[in-house]
């Protein structure tokens, strides 16, 4: 069995076990073991990849290619490069943390964990796919469990949020489908066969007119899940209603599919289209960056703050991708990772706070540093990481993005870059506002004095996420080099 297919098979096996789980205890044990195995595999993959890379310089390694639907030349074709390896690791970590955070999921536990793992299958599959069709399949597999996860286990206007999220994402994927078909039917212009294989299509000189037509479709299709302004509104509502682990997975992993897809499909396959259309999407993404940050300033619901902050942060990812150079792309990938860990951590903490105080309204919270110091301190750290403090992953990513963006010399790009850099100030404002109101200050409610201390599984979940944030922030070299190296073939498509 090849090392990558295991990323699909292990979760499927986990689900099979889960089906027979009788109680919460069994369900969470199975889920935990399954996710632990996944994490082990992901870590193993990193080392295996680094080792393999020294002897193998093809774009994708560990590839496996099985014909699936022969008449359409659809293959189950998988493989990884440094980018996917990093994102797989992110996914494995966030999923495991999510399982820990959901330790006390009393309502329909079995179903919850199954949905969670189905979601993770979609994500894993998406990251390892080389075939557009397979990729699309996994993309949708990742989206649909969200409906149940938010709808059943969510809070607040959960039905509305779940429906909105699902419809917007599926609508986007519908647009994407047109784009994919467009690419597919133009993959034979050089005389080859029609193919869904990304690597093969990249070798084809798709006519510029076609690229111009399909780039926006593919871009928007993916970017909606990456919360591109103005298609981001599913995200605040979705996050706000989702249960903790789902918010984590969603913001931490699922939204990354957007940036990754944009990069792998839209940018890589339609580079001339990208150049032609970039201006409008740059405008949108910069607007998203600033706008998300400003919106976050005004929110009082913790999850909304974080959701808008995600809009802002992921706007940076898209912005970076549109900058069309290696440094910015590296930044984009790093930002994806970093945002993944950070925002998952945030949502985990918000979940813990909510569980204890039963509110997410910051104006009703106060002085939490005194009552739940561990959670609060980590919240501060996460906040600092989020505002791009050196020593945390956010800084590494943002600097790459900014330096990369600065390589673009024309005035329009410069203005866009400076505007997007300004977000470091606005981010500081909303992060510190929350810290100031919620964590510091006097304790606003007597009952908060008796809040439950942090439990071991919560600590575990938190540390799982915190370690990579600090790890990347302190020693980014190996990761960023791994990604940079993988970016080479992609940038060549543009030059």
């Amino acid at each position: 069995m090849d090392i990558l297919s295991l990323f699909i098979i292990v979760p499927v096996v986990t689900i099979l076990f889960l089906v027979f789980a009788k109680s919460l205890k069994q369900a969470r044990m199975v889920a935990m073991v399954g996710s632990l195995v996944q994490l082990g595999m992901a870590i193993n993959l990193v080392f295996a990849y680094l080792k393999e890379r020294t002897v193998n310089d093809s774009i994708m390694v560990f590839t496996k290619d099985v014909v699936w639907f022969e008449p359409f030349n659809i293959h189950y074709n998988i493989g990884v490069d440094g980018i996917s390896v990093a994102l797989l690791l992110l996914t494995a970590i966030v999923v495991l943390a999510g399982v820990f955070i959901s330790w006390k999921m009393y309502d329909l536990p079995k179903e919850f964990f199954i949905s969670l793992i189905v979601l993770s299958i979609g994500v894993y599959g998406f990251f390892i796919s080389i075939d557009l069709f397979t990729m699309f399949v996994f993309f949708e597999i990742a989206v649909i469990p969200m409906y149940l996860l938010i709808g059943i286990w969510g809070s607040g206007p959960r039905e509305y949020s779940a429906m909105k999220l699902t419809l917007m994402l599926m609508g986007a994927s519908a647009i994407l489908l047109v784009g994919i078909l467009g690419i597919y039917f133009n993959s034979d212009v050089d005389g080859g066969a029609l193919t869904f294989n990304i690597l093969e299509i990249a070798q084809v000189n798709i006519p510029v007119e076609v690229q111009k037509l399909f780039f926006p479709l593919t871009f928007i299709g993916f970017a909606v899940i990456g919360a591109l302004f103005p298609f981001h509104t599913w995200s605040p509502d979705g996050h706000a209603s989702a249960p903790t682990a789902v918010s984590m997975l969603h913001a931490g992993v699922l939204m990354k599919l957007g940036g990754y897809g944009v990069f792998r499909v839209a940018m890589y396959l339609l580079p001339e289209g990208a150049v032609d259309w970039s201006w409008i999407f740059i405008i949108l993404s910069v607007v998203g960056v600033i706008y998300g940050a400003f919106s976050a300033i005004k929110q009082t619901d913790l999850k909304y703050i974080n959701a808008y902050s995600s809009v802002s942060h992921l706007g940076l990812v898209l912005f970076a991708l549109l900058m069309l150079n290696k440094t910015a792309w590296n930044g984009a990938i790093l930002q994806s990772l970093s945002h993944g860990f950070m925002t998952a951590l945030f949502f985990a903490l918000i979940g813990m706070i909510y569980e204890r105080t039963h509110t997410r309204d910051i104006t009703r919270l106060g002085g939490l540093l005194k009552v739940i110091p561990f959670i609060s301190v980590i919240y501060v750290i996460a906040g600092l990481a989020s505002l791009g403090l050196p020593g945390f992953s956010g800084f590494v990513a943002e600097m790459n993005i900014f330096v990369g963006a600065f390589q673009q010399e024309d005035m329009f790009m410069r203005v866009a870059t400076v505007l997007s850099i300004s977000v470091i100030v606005i981010t500081a404002v909303y992060i510190l506002r929350v810290v100031g109101i919620m964590l510091m200050g006097p304790v606003k409610n007597e009952s908060y004095l008796k809040l439950e201390k942090v439990t071991w599984y919560e600590k575990f979940g938190i540390l799982l996420l915190l370690i990579p944030i600090v790890g990347i922030g302190v020693a980014p070299l190996w990761l960023s080099d791994m990604i940079l190296e993988s970016l080479d073939p992609f940038i060549k498509g543009l030059l």
Binding site: T233, K370, P390, Q407, V418, I424, V425, L432, M440
Partner: protein, 639 residues
């Protein structure tokens, strides 16, 4: 010279931070205090040893102090651009090591007494460790990005320490303000770094500062709006420096930062962190000097001079003793900037640079002393306000003496430390720019005046009735006072121009007697005026305050800068930008998305009549459909 061990200097406080931070709950306060102090002691010893080695053992080679670097790649941007982590040892970094070590060590010791009994005792020492680590990292940085990294870290340590009393609303606000204002400045800094990185292809100080290097020689290659892009970069970088060093108009955070514990104010907001801006300009001094004939440097000079004056005026009117000291700090920082601004590069030309660094050094000592002294006072009377103090000399003799020494030093009374450094700055200003010189002299007078207003206000004047009888602080607090007092006295005697100069060659500095006399006289006049006004409780000061009328009011309200900022942030950014955007998002953007959904459902409602239940209507649609399709395809579409 082997400089590897210097890496230990920042590492030790960092380890202290990690130890105290992670085992925060488990370590007894007594232990943590010792961990902090001894950790820093080790660092300080290493720093001293490094200084000794650098200046005396290694000394000059070919008449020039060598620059030693040791670095490793931390992250690649492109093939050429990368961030290095490493240490750079040259005169100013060594000097800064000493300054940071001395002050930080003293503050650590002092804090053991000052913070006694505080529930966050361990946390406090952890934060101090973090700050010291960051500051060491900053001064040792080998390149712009590294300095930026530690720049941010000192910023955050400052944030944490200002907000140390996190249940106090004013402290939270102050911490937030400090961070955001400096963050705003850092935004400029970052852009400056980007520009430098893009146009020169390196972040490395050594490469950048090389007067024969391409960065300096090719400054005119690209220009933007009439100025070289490098000048723009330097100006942006200066914005960063101005933010940290509380230059006008980014100074507003500094007075508020006094909400932090007093030792913190002494360490961060008087002696070390706030001089980072000055250090930054000094670090890039060759660039500032050579690029576009020092255009950026001139700006630095004017901003410095104005800030010095501006802050001094405000300082006169403040009643919170820590705020007086804060504005005094700002004023002195302006002085240092001014010094850099009027400096030349080579030999005696570079006296401004030397003086500025010298002033940085001496100022660190006496300003730390002032703050610690003020802390001692506050500790005793539990108040920050002058109105609650008076005649404390009877109760707190050591504090009184040391405070007096520091006040004299800052007032520029010879032969104390301040006199020497300030005098050199004035010399440099006199030689370069008369206007700035006059400002400098005037500020010197003001400084003496407000300092002694403060001194008299605290230690003389009317005896208040205190709830608890004030008593002298414990040894852990007075010991640092004494040490720093000694340093304030003798610090000026160091032949600084031998060690720290722009071109690293060094020169012989001479006292310019006429100028020194003028400065001293002005200082003494200031002290005298303060004597008259404040030695005894009288209404003279109030009368004059009335005489100045609105000017006094403006000054005491800090020229309404806080209000302006408040207006911009609260009224404009929050109310006019953020709130509408948030609303726009919900109503318009989200509204559109929901609208699409709702419209679809609405259409669905509207057309339900078609399905009327009448089989004949169905048939009608059927037939009409057939006819229409036939019409279309026979007459419109075929061929």
């Amino acid at each position: 010279m082997n400089i590897t061990y210097i890496i230990l200097i920042p590492i030790i406080p960092f380890i202290v931070f990690l130890l105290l931070g992670i085992f925060n709950q488990k370590i007894k306060p007594a232990v943590s205090g010792y961990v902090g102090v001894f950790g820093l002691l080790a660092s300080a010893m290493l720093s001293f040893y490094a200084a000794y080695q650098y200046f005396f053992v290694n000394g000059k080679v070919d008449g020039v102090y060598q620059t030693f670097t040791e670095k490793t790649v931390w992250m690649h941007f492109t093939d050429t651009l990368h961030i290095d982590m490493g240490i750079l040892v040259d005169p100013i970094s060594v000097m800064m090591l000493v300054v940071v070590s001395v002050v930080s060590l003293m503050v650590h010791i002092y804090s053991r007494g000052y913070m006694k009994g505080d529930e966050g005792y361990t946390k406090f020492f952890a934060f101090l460790g973090l700050f010291t680590f960051s500051m060491y990292g900053l001064v040792l940085a080998t390149n712009l990005f590294q300095i930026y990294i530690f720049w941010e870290l000192v910023g955050v340590s400052s944030y944490l320490l200002i907000g140390y009393y996190y249940t106090k609303t004013s402290a939270i606000a102050a911490a937030k303000k400090a961070f955001i204002v400096t963050r705003f400045a850092d935004f400029g800094f970052l852009i400056g770094i980007m520009i430098i990185g893009f146009y020169t292809g390196t972040f490395d100080f050594e490469t950048l500062n090389n007067p024969e290097g391409s960065a300096i020689l090719n400054w005119a290659a690209t220009s933007f709006m009439g100025l070289s892009v490098i000048t723009w970069a330097l100006l942006f970088i200066f914005i960063g420096g101005a933010g940290k060093s509380a230059m006008f108009p980014l100074h507003i955070w500094l007075p508020d930062a006094m909400e932090g514990p007093t030792p913190v104010s002494a360490l961060i907001h008087a002696a070390t962190m706030v001089v980072a801006g000055v250090f930054l300009v000094a670090r890039l001094f060759p660039m500032f000097y050579f690029v576009e004939d020092g255009f950026a440097l001139n700006i630095v000079a004017y901003v410095g001079a104005f800030s010095a004056l501006f802050a001094a005026v405000i300082a006169i009117t403040q009643t919170d003793i820590k705020r007086v000291l804060a504005f005094s700090t700002m004023s002195q920082l302006g002085y240092m900037m001014l010094g850099l601004g009027v400096s030349g590069y080579e030999g005696h030309e570079g006296v401004g640079y030397m003086a500025s660094m010298f002033h940085l050094f001496t100022h660190a000592m006496f300003k730390a002393l002032l703050f610690l002294g003020a802390g001692s006072v506050i500790h005793a009377v539990h108040s920050n306000y002058l109105k609650d103090m008076g005649s404390l000399r009877k109760y707190m003799p050591i504090t009184n003496i040391t405070f007096l020494i520091a006040a004299l030093a800052i007032a520029g009374v010879p032969p104390l430390a301040g006199f020497w450094s300030k005098d050199e700055i004035l010399v440099a200003a006199f030689e370069h720019n008369k206007l700035i010189y006059y400002v400098g002299v005037f500020v010197a007078g003001l400084t003496a005046f407000y300092m002694f207003r403060l001194y008299f206000g605290i230690f003389w004047g009317k005896d208040r009735t205190y709830d608890h009888k004030p008593k002298e602080s414990p040894l852990s607090m007075t010991f640092p006072l004494l040490v720093l007092a000694v340093l304030s006295v003798v610090g000026g005697l160091i032949p600084f121009s031998e060690f720290v100069t722009a071109d690293k060659v060094g020169f012989e500095a001479h006292l310019n007697y006429p100028l020194a006399a003028i400065a001293t006289t002005v200082g003494i006049i200031g002290i005298g005026l303060a004597w008259i006004f404040y030695k005894k409780e009288n209404n003279l000061s109030d009368r004059y305050a009335k005489a100045f009328g609105p000017l006094y009011k403006w000054a005491s309200d800090k020229f309404y800068f806080d209000e302006i900022y408040m207006f911009i942030t609260k009224k404009i950014l929050f109310k006019r930008v953020s709130a509408p955007i948030a609303k726009f998002d919900r109503k318009v953007v989200d509204g559109t998305m929901n609208g699409i959904g709702n419209k679809t459902v609405l259409i669905s409602q509207k057309i339900k009549g078609v399905q009327s239940g009448k089989v004949q209507d169905y048939a009608f649609v059927f037939v009409a459909g057939v006819v229409v399709i036939a019409l279309v395809f026979i007459y419109l579409w075929s061929n």
